[in-house]
Symmetry: C2
Subunit: 425 residues, 2 copies
């Protein structure tokens, strides 16, 4: 649900020292403004007033002249092309990942990579539909001045019910895979920027995993100046696309769209300003999206001396987060095993029913009894349909079990590794 | 088809200078022997004499005392556990990726990551079954002495017909994604090692892509000493599991299992020795696997001075390879678009048939005519089944089109990038 926009205003070698920092500026200091989340929900033919909203978003993004724009849920190639045409002036470089993710950039895009999460809900949950959207994480490498910035954009599985969240294990697996993907691909980057609809509350285990295991900082908590919805919420009751029942326990709304960042090598990143939009488009009755947009101004500076970033102090907390995540995955594993078993049983029963019919028909024909052709054919078709469905389900849940098991083992290995040597970000 | 084993004999700080090098050895010189490909085809319940062969493989690997073992097509958790128990002495560390890939290592495994290819054949090609195996690339990071080695193990889509290779675009996409995955994740590695069943002939565009775009070297062509099947073939007619018709044009067999490597930073890698197995297990009538195993001895040395590895000279060749790969992807894109169109048309026709029946039945009932219940029901069921099947197919091919388009664009971006600045490995 919803999606994110990251917008950056870059100002290389700024003369006017920003008030927030007393550090002297180096030749490659970069002041960047970043924004996240301008919900889209633009499933073609389905979303309400999609084209109008896409156009509004394009106009707004163009007006503000951001340096980086990260969008999700742009399902239609035409929407991407429309946005590209509108943003061409401020962001001549762009990449469309075709899993709904796209990035517009003022800076040249050097390279890209798409990572597909191994789990993403269930195909038979048609009313939720996340499975069909193919959730993934996109990486875009840009160079700002001489700084290599790895930009990650993603969209995790939605949470449809806080109390009975059947998708929690999948979302934790996605958060883990995202964290691992960032850790492995960001080793040569100076700055890491992650923006997107993470579909998690700020205190959820997946967010804590991203913060502690990857070392990402939350632009909202780090911001020196904030303006927008209370608590930085991006899914708010005011939005006409919001399903009100989802927010019953959260009258203010929920913050589920994030800008997270980290400076890897000899750089620092500070968040000067964070903003969210606050409802409908000025002068119109519709909001840009089902989520509020998040914007941040980030300042990237060269560090005067490379500091050690080993965070031994946070070690026990990290082990705790990993252990909690592992428990969630394990809970999911038990559920997946149950479903694998029951779908297998259903397939066997359907096969028995088919066999029984064959025997019955053959027996009846041999005894010269009348043949109830209609009911037998209908029943056989039904049994066959159930058999195919159950077999497909069994295969699906077998893969799910494997993936959950694999993730659990990887987390265990990470915990073991932590006990042997401290983490280096 | 088939799988790979990489086995390394490590000898840190060897005293006895190997004959092949006249360079003086540094404290962290490492002599490594590497092997690739000990076919498995161990699909549970299906493969011939699976358990016996797993046991033979385990014994053989244990006897030779390799340092690194890379296997594919280990589909059953139990087989992995059996191998783990047998190899525990020489390779105490291991990781099972649950997509058939596993790695056994003498050296501690620091981290792992699994990358799933976006395309992998078609689910309805049941006789080939690659789709269900979920092809992917596994990354295992190990530290040998003070050298960080990124080990990649993978298994690409099989080629069932050389002349009419319907899977070529998918395999090229996989090779491209593998190359990109390695490039993005190996930036902090000293040595990169890729082993596996790539299902490509040595001159195929995918292999050339991996060599030129990632900068990998082929252990077979670099080896100072070779022993085994002619031309290093790993799929040979002698093997009783080989489908003879596949090798009609290649009487010697095909080399489809590879050990590729590259030294990233201030290291060099040389292949001292390469070997393949040559048929059946001594004293028995079955081979270890459907592919011959490949073994290499690699020598990793610290470079006395860091050399520049920008390969401007190879630039035109690289652009050519990229352009060729892009053409293959484009051919696949056209085919996928055709299939998307025809499956969509089939779905529409099935829906029309259903509608027609409803109208016919309602009309018949209104006119008080007799109702041919059996044939109408059967036909309705058939139309419904076709509708569901065609809709699923349409969705599948729509995703395929998107992925092929995305890959084509990425390749185009890479080519544009190359024209602007030279490639740095």
């Amino acid at each position: 649900m919803g999606n994110a926009v990251v917008l950056m205003n870059q100002d290389v070698g700024v003369e006017d020292g920003a008030a927030f920092t007393s550090q002297s500026r180096f030749p490659h200091d970069v002041t960047v403004s970043v924004v996240v989340s301008l919900g889209q929900r633009a499933i073609r033919y389905l979303s309400k007033r999609r084209q109008e909203r896409i156009s509004l978003i394009g106009d707004q993004l163009c007006r503000e002249g951001f340096d980086l724009v990260l969008l999700q849920e742009i399902w239609s190639e035409r929407d991407y092309s429309d946005l590209k045409a509108k943003l061409g002036g401020s962001c001549p470089f762009s990449h469309y990942f075709r899993s709904g993710l796209c990035v517009f950039s003022k800076f040249p895009i050097l390279d890209t990579l798409l990572y597909q999460y191994s789990l993403n809900g269930y195909p038979y949950m048609l009313q939720h539909g996340d499975w069909f959207c193919g959730k993934s994480a996109g990486l875009v490498v840009v160079r700002i001045a001489e700084i290599t910035v790895n930009i990650y954009v993603t969209h995790l599985h939605a949470e449809y019910s806080r109390d009975k969240d059947a998708y929690l294990p999948h979302r934790v697996v996605q958060a883990w895979e995202l964290a691992q993907f960032i850790r492995h691909t960001a080793k040569a980057a100076d700055v890491v920027l992650l923006g997107g609809d993470l579909n998690m509350h700020p205190g959820d285990v997946g967010i804590r995993l991203l913060r502690s295991w990857v070392g990402l900082q939350d632009a909202f908590t780090e911001a020196q100046h904030f303006e927008g919805c209370e608590d930085g919420c991006t899914l708010i009751p005011n939005n006409c696309f919001t399903v009100k029942s989802e927010l019953q326990s959260f009258p203010l709304g929920i913050r589920i769209d994030y800008i997270l960042y980290k400076a890897v090598s000899s750089f620092t990143v500070e968040c000067e300003e964070l903003r969210t939009t606050t409802g409908t488009v000025p002068g119109l009755d519709i909001p840009y999206s089902d989520h509020e947009a998040v914007t941040a101004v980030l300042c990237i500076q060269r560090r005067r001396q490379t500091a050690s970033v080993t965070i031994d102090a946070a070690m026990p907390a990290l082990v705790e987060v990993l252990s909690e995540a592992r428990t969630e995955v394990y809970v999911g594993l038990l559920a997946a095993r149950r479903q694998r078993y029951s779908s297998g049983r259903m397939a066997v029963l359907a096969m028995l029913l088919l066999l029984l019919q064959v025997v019955g028909v053959l027996g009846g024909v041999a005894a010269g009894q009348p043949f109830p052709a209609l009911s037998v054919s209908l029943l056989a078709f039904l049994a066959l349909a159930i058999l195919l469905f159950a077999a497909g389900l069994h295969l699906f849940h077998s893969i799910e079990v494997k993936m959950l098991q694999g993730t659990e083992e990887q987390m265990e290995m990470a915990m073991r590794g932590l006990q042997e040597q401290p983490l280096r970000h």
